[in-house]
């Protein structure tokens, strides 16, 4: 059951949405996929976007034997996954055992767009996962395109893996911060993900009690702008939250703007500053160690007061807490994917109706079934939340078993 058949059929998908999710599932299950009609109806930018191509390159560098084919216009993609090798020696390694991956300057997505799928692949890697994201496209803040900041990954996504028995040597180093550059494109940040706990199969989880919120932590960051913005963000967020959670502490991180090579014809050596701005990441923790997060960052165009953003972030956090469940919308897809990869046992998790009834989760359920995973069982519990039970398929570490 678990071992892939000799010639598994290529799975077919359409559209650019959920592309990353499907690529991750394809890599985990070892099934080839063909995605067609990627932005085929777009007149201005058909085909794969810069960040998607970059993610494919990243997949290529952390796997061995992957085969990627684009059509001429980039609207069709064929991906045959290889084994997830991680940062194995002699395999594209340059700096200190880390795979160096440069993001292009026209990347509009935050580094988390790359890091979250990496975190899903990393537990099933052969060697440790050690990836350094660098280059003129690394945005560490939250973005307008709906990505979370890297701080949220560090404080709200990585701890999720603990319940799956994946907890040793997980580290996300934020080496240089950057907000989104002009027009929301590019940044100059640098992040390193070290994920050094590989498992055969993730543990089966039973998360049923969401508990009560006992503390809120957060990080306010300013890059290249006055540190007073941090204080103003924090003050506004605390103004909303203090009444509910006395134990609220928000760190303040102030850094100068990163310098990236400026693309000027008459002065090729010139550097310019990019990624100015500020933002806030909030994480609420319950007494049963469930996490809810909220993220916001200043728009590249500016024009919003830190007070407004701070309040908005706090409201976003309250929304997420109100929705409840054992995983927020941000974390749900990661948790559910790991559950499906688990051993052949029933794992259970309580999720809010808003989370289960979101497009992402419904699509994930369908995609998982498409990849040969079992269907989900759902029932309502006493609090009006949904208990999702997933039988793992034990495909967990395909690569490890073969290699």
């Amino acid at each position: 059951m678990a071992a892939p058949t000799s010639a598994p059929q290529t799975l077919k998908f359409t559209g650019s949405k959920y592309l990353i999710q499907r690529l991750v599932l394809a890599t985990l299950t070892g099934r080839a996929i063909r995605v067609s009609q990627i932005r085929a109806s777009s007149h201005t930018s058909p085909g794969l976007a810069a960040h998607e191509v970059s993610f494919l390159r990243l997949l290529e560098s952390i796997t061995n034997g992957s085969h990627i084919e684009f059509s001429y216009t980039g609207t069709t993609l064929l991906y045959k996954p290889g084994l997830i090798t991680g940062a194995a020696t002699g395999h594209g390694l340059t700096t200190g055992g880390a795979i160096r991956h440069e993001l292009p300057a026209d990347c509009t997505r935050s580094a988390s767009y790359f890091l979250i799928p990496l975190c899903l692949l990393a537990p099933f890697s052969k060697a440790q996962m050690n990836v350094l994201l660098t280059g003129p496209g690394v945005i560490t803040s939250a973005t307008e395109t709906g990505d979370v900041s890297v701080d949220t990954i560090r404080t709200a996504i990585l701890p999720l893996f603990k319940s799956f028995g994946i907890e040793r040597n997980l580290e996300l180093r934020i080496l240089r911060r950057s907000n989104a550059g002009r027009d929301g494109k590019g940044g100059g940040g640098e992040v390193q993900l070290v994920f050094d706990h590989q498992v055969r199969l993730p543990k089966t989880i039973h998360l049923l009690d969401a508990g009560r919120i006992k503390r809120v932590r957060g990080v306010a960051y300013s890059t290249g702008v006055a540190g007073a913005n941090n204080a103003r963000l924090i003050e506004a967020a605390r103004g909303v939250l203090n009444d509910l959670v006395p134990d609220t502490y928000i760190f303040s991180d102030i850094s100068s703007a990163p310098l990236v090579a400026g693309l000027e014809k008459n002065n090729p050596g010139a550097k310019r500053k990019t990624g100015l701005g500020f933002g806030l990441s909030l994480v609420a923790e319950s007494n049963t160690n469930m996490l809810y997060s909220a993220d916001i960052a200043s728009l590249p165009a500016g024009g919003e007061a830190p007070e407004d953003l701070g309040r908005k972030c706090a409201y976003q956090l309250l929304e997420s807490i109100e929705a409840g469940g054992c995983a927020s919308g941000v974390a749900a897809t990661s948790v559910l994917t790991l559950m499906a990869m688990g051993s052949e046992d029933v794992g259970r998790i309580t999720l809010s109706k808003d989370v289960v009834g979101s497009e992402q989760v419904v699509q994930l359920a369908r995609d998982l079934r498409g990849f040969g995973m079992s269907g989900w069982g759902m029932r309502e519990d006493d609090d009006g939340e949904i208990v999702v039970s997933i039988v793992g398929k034990g495909v967990g570490n395909v690569g490890r078993k073969i290699a």
């Binding site: 559209g15 650019s16 949405k17 959920y18 592309l19 990353i20 999710q21 932005r39 109806s41 777009s42 988390s112 979250i116 939250a142 395109t145 709906g146 990505d147 979370v148 508990g211 009560r212 919120i213 006992k214 909303v240 009444d243 509910l244 959670v245 006395p246 319950s286 007494n287 909220a294 993220d295 309040r311 908005k312 706090a314 409201y315 976003q316 309250l318 929304e319 807490i321 109100e322 409840g324 919308g329 941000v330 109706k353 289960v356 009834g357 979101s358 497009e359 992402q360 419904v362 699509q363 359920a365 369908r366 079934r369 269907g375 989900w376 069982g377 759902m378 029932r379 309502e380 949904i386």
Partner: protein, 105 residues
């Protein structure tokens, strides 16, 4: 009772379980139906309009990309969370010092 049974109640888990794997429905339709926002005809009509120029433009701008943080209407959120009743309703989710129950730490 007739009216209750006549229209499907929104947010029923069994309904969602049924629709989740029904490939005839798109995910957007599944969710809007589950929430009881629109009946079947309305969603079909909307899809037909998709061919219009403006609709498509909007599609490429919004729904073609994956988002982690949903787009929220912050003005209505501000109204919601400055309302005392809503705050009170949420208070049971917090283990603050004021509600010392068995669950408080």
């Amino acid at each position: 009772a007739q009216t209750l049974h006549g229209q499907s109640r929104p947010y029923r888990v069994t309904e969602l379980a049924k629709m989740m794997y029904d490939d005839m429905l798109s995910t957007v339709e599944v969710i809007s139906r589950w929430r009881g926002e629109v009946d079947g005809d309305a969603t079909m009509g909307e899809n037909e309009q998709d061919d219009g120029f403006f609709k498509r433009k909007e599609d490429t701008a919004n729904s073609d990309e994956d988002r982690m943080v949903p787009k929220l209407d912050y003005e209505s959120l501000e109204d919601k969370w400055t309302n005392d009743d809503n705050i009170k309703a949420l208070r049971h989710r917090f283990a603050s010092t004021r509600v010392t129950g068995a669950n408080a730490e």
